[in-house]
Symmetry: C2
Subunit: 439 residues, 2 copies
Amino acid sequence: MSAVDVIRRKRDGGTLAPDEIRSFVAGATDGSWADYQVSALLMAIVLKGMTLDEAAILTDAMVKSGQRVELGKAPNGTVPVDKHSTGGVGDKTSLILAPLAAACGVIVPMMSGRGLGHTGGTLDKLESIPGFRTGLSLPEMRRALDRRGCAMIGQTSEIAPADKKLYALRDVTGTVESRPLICASILSKKIAEGIGALVMDVKVGKGAFMKTDADARELATWLVGIAEKNGVRTEALLTSMESPLGREVGNASEVIESIETLKGRGPKDLEDLSVRLAARMLVLAGLTGDDADAEARVRKALASGAGVEALRGIIEEQGGDPRVIDDYALMPKAKTRAVVAAPADGVIAGLDAESIGRAGVALGAGRERVDSRIDPGVGIQLNAVPGDRVKRGDPVLTVLYNDRARWDSARALLEGSIRVADRPEPAQPLIREVIGGRR
Amino acid sequence: MSAVDVIRRKRDGGTLAPDEIRSFVAGATDGSWADYQVSALLMAIVLKGMTLDEAAILTDAMVKSGQRVELGKAPNGTVPVDKHSTGGVGDKTSLILAPLAAACGVIVPMMSGRGLGHTGGTLDKLESIPGFRTGLSLPEMRRALDRRGCAMIGQTSEIAPADKKLYALRDVTGTVESRPLICASILSKKIAEGIGALVMDVKVGKGAFMKTDADARELATWLVGIAEKNGVRTEALLTSMESPLGREVGNASEVIESIETLKGRGPKDLEDLSVRLAARMLVLAGLTGDDADAEARVRKALASGAGVEALRGIIEEQGGDPRVIDDYALMPKAKTRAVVAAPADGVIAGLDAESIGRAGVALGAGRERVDSRIDPGVGIQLNAVPGDRVKRGDPVLTVLYNDRARWDSARALLEGSIRVADRPEPAQPLIREVIGGRR
């Protein structure tokens, strides 16, 4: 099969045959397709699209480019389940729901990513815990799952190497923005890690990559459709990402907020979303068919402390210092504090998540370049959130920083992120819509 | 300037700034753009197009990637002029009009290509003349122009190296079919060879790459527009390519037919088109402003034998054996002959040029792969042409071949190429339309 013929078919708006898609993925991985051929086809896919069936086969081919972990069912009859978020600001639900689901008896092989753009990444957050290793080998992952019911790791070289190759090329050839390529990239890693079910948190709003409900719904529909075609039971929740989730944006500070939430002392929006997502994981895993029962089990794991103990076990298993659960002083913390004040009397109408996310990156909580180093102790704390009354000059945001120049470049973003109105605006529901998965 | 930003702009349907186009061309040539970035942008150009201004700047950037020969005006005040054909079957006008124009006092630096697809190439034809060298260096070209008024050469490494690089990539990435890329490729070489004017023969019909008048007109308009923006006075003639031009399709056989035509014994369609194109070259070069005068001068050069003597000089200058002019036995000739007969009584209504061109390639007159060797002595002779009465069994095509298997693979194509009707069909004019250039 000739690479040029495959490229030409997609260029002309045609549908690729399964063999053609498999030739492309295998060729990209083993080098029998030249990089310039791979990138030409990627651009044709960006501009001409793919059908859902093509994207499902692309995903399968990417899974098969490496190892697919076989976890099978747990002794309690459940299938392993993971959660994936399309990326938000202050979105630390993974750190809460993974231990909660594990505490309820679900196997959670969680493969996460790093911060992307203005959004945070689970791996970056976990690595702010002294000693925590996200780079487990597959045998280490299996051992962690056996012992703790949960492993929180990064992509290994055995998992979907085609994704690694394609992503690196997409990044330098302007071919990132493509629904089928995005879906195949997300799902190939998830499917390869051995899950039987998946809960997708598709973020929508000012602080998300999907700005409108329509875009988010379309992406969610594709993710669910492709995953189901690959035999993974999947449900997508469209959740609001207008202002940051919870009260903390950063790395160490988000870990601390997650521990607090597991101790029952977290902000309501963060607790509610984490519980809801964890409950869906229980249902999709097959632990219970009943929504209310699933949520009751998760709430019980939260109230009993089983969730926070599960997180302690995960930290211990992955080389981190488990004492952080009880002593936050062991976590890194930036040395200087600044405040961003309310510009007027009134009610907080909005805290723009994207601006706050960008400010976080500017402070060092995220990466401005691929090789930037994260500063785990910097962050932004929300002292007031939408709906809260403020007086002019009240501290709305507290900023922790280490580098004065970075604070200078973050300041205007943060000042611009606060919107004060005369009257409270109607609150948006946190969960806007659910797609797929329900039975 | 970042390659990714340039790629993304074109991907999103934007217009590239001159600096961005120049960065792309320079980057492709010097390697500062990776091949996979070059091919991604090429695909985006194929699918999103370019404006005429973008294509003109692309052309200029490709010219400037190498040397631009400075020929200046000839002592008689004319500017150097070339002719280019978009490719046809049996299209050997270059071999006739170049010596005719030179004999009339015009400087003709002709840079030609090889056969492409089912169409023939001037270089392949010239190289069927024993000893003929098309690979002249630029100093050799200048010397040939000084001494003979004409040089017929291939692309040298100094001329538009960006075109060589881009063409090689386009060939293997499905990005050949793009009007701006095609125009820039054709024109960058022509402009770099030092011409002041250009006559374009844009072929249209079954045997051409442009199948419809609308497509051919659009291409012609672009070629004229881009060349004029680059300071080259240009005229495009849309000419018919339904059946082969003249009576011979091959390499040596087309050279012999060209010599015959220069001796006044050629087929009328070939003679008329060659004379008309040569006359336009005289006008565009500035030798005369009068169409009728230009044609009279060309006809005089034909009748006097000045044209055939000019060809003798060109052959001599470029290392060929000039005795071929008088002794066709010195030209290669395939050893076996076969005949394709009329399938019915009637009038030849069509001889499908593309099928005959493909049959020629199958016989070895063209290349099936980039590295195929041309067999210069094979060819197809048209014993009857559209409008001629035939009886069933009359030999319509005579085939010269060396390899029985090749003849077997050409046979069905040739049999399918002949269309016999009850009545003659109205003849199409050879020149369908003229675009640009006229004053």
